[in-house]
């Protein structure tokens, strides 16, 4: 990460907790750049996270108040923080399993309630920390530690899920397109409504190896293809496409 972002990190933190090739470092850098560009007061910001690799993006790295909670409950904790002290900026950073599986109910109700929370979901499409089990976001047919013949079920489209629950700002970014991602994060943080940014972030260690990617680089290339610009509405989307953008307008 660029030295200019070091001021947002705790001096005690000297190494990244992430595996080689993990996308979460890019997400961490993108989030800090968004914070830097907005001039967010870190002393009046609370970062709330659940359990999993993505929950370690803010905790303990960020030099701000951090609340590293239980598996799935980050959004519920964050709702209490925001409601009890509306002057604090509250940003949730957690993973797809945490936010959309065990915490799915809290996510949709927070979107419905529309408290001023920013929820950033690092989606690596698998349970990374526990060893690569199937997530609610694992694409159908893909291989995980609990679906060795391929995931038989359909994944959630998190953007549609959260938008359907009433979130006024919903975006999908990807670590292969960091400048767009920073833009979405800035809008989400600035929003005074409930805002949700799904961030596609590859997990080479657990996901890539099982699904026969030759290298982390190959995973990033494929993600780039799936996140391509799909502006021509007459063209059908390729299978597994992950259209990026803001989805808050019908």
């Amino acid at each position: 990460m660029a030295r200019s972002m070091e001021k947002y990190l705790r001096p005690e933190v000297v190494t990244t907790p992430f595996c080689p090739g993990c996308g979460h470092g890019v997400l961490m850098g993108s989030l800090l750049r968004a914070i830097d560009q907005l001039g967010v007061d870190m002393d009046q910001t609370v970062f709330v996270s659940g359990i999993g690799c993505a929950a370690w993006i803010p905790s303990p790295n960020f030099a701000a108040d951090t609340l590293h909670t239980l598996h799935g409950r980050a959004v519920a904790f964050a709702s209490g923080v925001k409601k009890a002290n509306p002057d604090l900026k509250v940003i949730v950073v957690s993973g797809d399993g945490d936010l959309a599986s065990i915490g799915g109910n809290h996510l949709i109700h927070a979107a419905r309630r529309n408290l001023d929370l920013t929820v950033i979901c690092a989606n690596n499409m698998i349970y990374g920390m526990t060893g690569g089990q199937m997530a609610p976001t694992t694409p159908q047919g893909h291989l995980t530690a609990t679906s060795v013949k391929g995931n038989p079920y359909r994944p959630f489209d998190l953007v549609k899920l959260v938008k359907g629950a009433g979130a006024p700002y919903v975006a999908r970014g990807a670590v292969v397109r960091p400048y767009e991602l920073i833009g979405y994060l800035k809008k989400a943080i600035t929003s005074t409504d409930f805002s949700f940014v799904e961030v596609m972030s590859p997990c080479p260690t657990q996901y890539g190896r099982r699904n026969k990617y030759d290298s982390p680089g190959a995973m990033y290339d494929r993600l780039g293809e799936l996140c391509g610009s799909f502006s021509d509405a007459s063209c059908p989307l390729p299978e597994g496409a992950l259209p990026l953008g803001e989805f808050n307008h019908d």
Partner: protein, 381 residues
């Protein structure tokens, strides 16, 4: 000790109130500024009261999507510096258990009013029970301590709610008001005081928020927004909150301190009442609503020439084992009537020494009558 006398913010004087309303007023008086909850019989009147009153008084109210979210929001709110609570009943307590362990482990003050109903499971939702005694102490995994107080009157639904807040804030532990449906829905006279004593959270800027050199120490508690760059985590942590998930010494020291900070202060925490204990041969150990019937039975037994007394436990957790051992020395027998299958009975037996203990259990969804307790005393005499 930052215990200060303040004007009671709710209407003082002689009043006629339900137990649940009195608990809500106790919370207001204690300085509660956040309520997060989910409706459940027979506690919902507390939530309804807080939804009407709390924001009028500068606090915040959130109806959450379930009990897990409720206690999570309460913990989050507590870290903003707000005194925070929820109210629930057995099924909700079961759902909250993981997060109650989080509160204990992160030393977050939270108050839970558990208006107990007839369990297990959905049981008889509108009927009384007292089956959560062990659940509130042992329900979350791992070793930790909580405070639990048992009110026997509407007056105590008010005063012990304040005490639960004071102990929770002072000790940085979850504190329960272990009420029962019969007390929650009871309506009776209350003498509301003009002033109340409330505890203000200790905060020394710059001090470590999760530990002290004292193996029974209670650390200073900052709030989000104080500029302390807090690291709150449910993983094993050092005194500044950095995760320490490898070193055995960190875990050992933390788990032991979290218990010792409560157990070493038992003498300051534990309260009880005694009636006719001075020369009592048969001692009824009772708590909550059952203690009302027990007192009536003890008086009737005295009239019948039986030297009976009542030991009313106000504090259930931490359990005052020394008290039981002390009373056991002068007693010929204990009788423990309970609206469960003998949860406090087992504790009394553990510390009664050679004094025989008789358990009187009733789990039919109704309160134990004085006649039943009197009959047992007559059999024992």
């Amino acid at each position: 000790m930052p215990l200060s006398k303040v004007s009671n913010p709710v209407q003082a004087g002689r009043r006629y109130l339900s137990g649940n309303d009195a608990a809500a007023e106790g919370a207001i008086a204690a300085g509660c500024r956040f309520y997060g909850g989910y409706p459940i019989t027979p506690s919902s009147e507390i939530m309804e009261y807080m939804s009407r009153e709390l924001e009028e008084r500068g606090g915040a109210f959130l109806q959450m999507e379930d009990e897990i979210a409720s206690i999570s929001a309460v913990v989050g709110a507590s870290w903003t510096g707000a005194k925070a609570m929820t109210a629930t009943s057995g099924p909700g307590v079961s759902l909250m258990q993981e997060c109650l362990g989080y509160a204990a482990f992160t030393e977050t003050p939270v108050v839970v009013v558990d208006v107990q109903r007839a369990g297990p499971c959905t049981g008889q939702a509108t009927k009384v029970g007292s089956g959560d005694i062990m659940a509130v102490k042992w329900g979350s995994h791992g070793d930790y301590q909580v405070v639990a107080l048992s009110p026997w009157s509407v007056q105590e639904m008010f005063s012990l709610t304040i005490e639960a807040f004071n102990l929770s804030e002072r000790l940085r532990v979850p504190a329960f008001l272990l009420a029962e449906e019969a007390t929650g829905h009871l309506r009776e006279r209350v003498d509301m005081p003009e002033t109340v004593e409330i505890y203000t959270r200790d905060y020394e800027p710059g001090q470590p928020p999760f530990g002290a050199d004292d193996p029974a120490g209670i650390p200073s508690m900052p709030s989000f927004g104080d500029g302390e760059k807090l690291l709150v985590t449910g993983s094993t942590h050092d005194q500044w909150g950095f995760r320490k998930t490898e070193g055995p010494a960190f875990h050992d020291a933390l788990v032991r301190r979290l218990s010792q900070k409560v157990l070493s202060r038992k003498n300051e925490i534990c309260r009880h009442d005694g009636y006719h204990l001075d020369d009592a041969e048969l001692v009824v150990v009772a708590y909550g609503f059952t203690a009302r019937s027990a007192l009536s039975a003890v008086r009737a037994a005295r009239s019948a020439g039986i030297k009976a007394g009542l030991l009313r436990l106000i504090t259930i957790w931490p359990f005052d084992n020394e008290l039981i051992s002390r009373v056991a020395e002068g007693a010929k027998g204990f009788l423990v009537p309970e609206m469960n299958l003998g949860q406090v009975d087992g504790l009394v037996r553990a510390y009664a020494g050679a004094t025989p203990v008789r358990s009187l259990t009733q789990v039919n969804g109704s309160t134990i009558s004085p006649a039943g307790i009197l009959a047992a005393l007559k059999e024992m005499s």
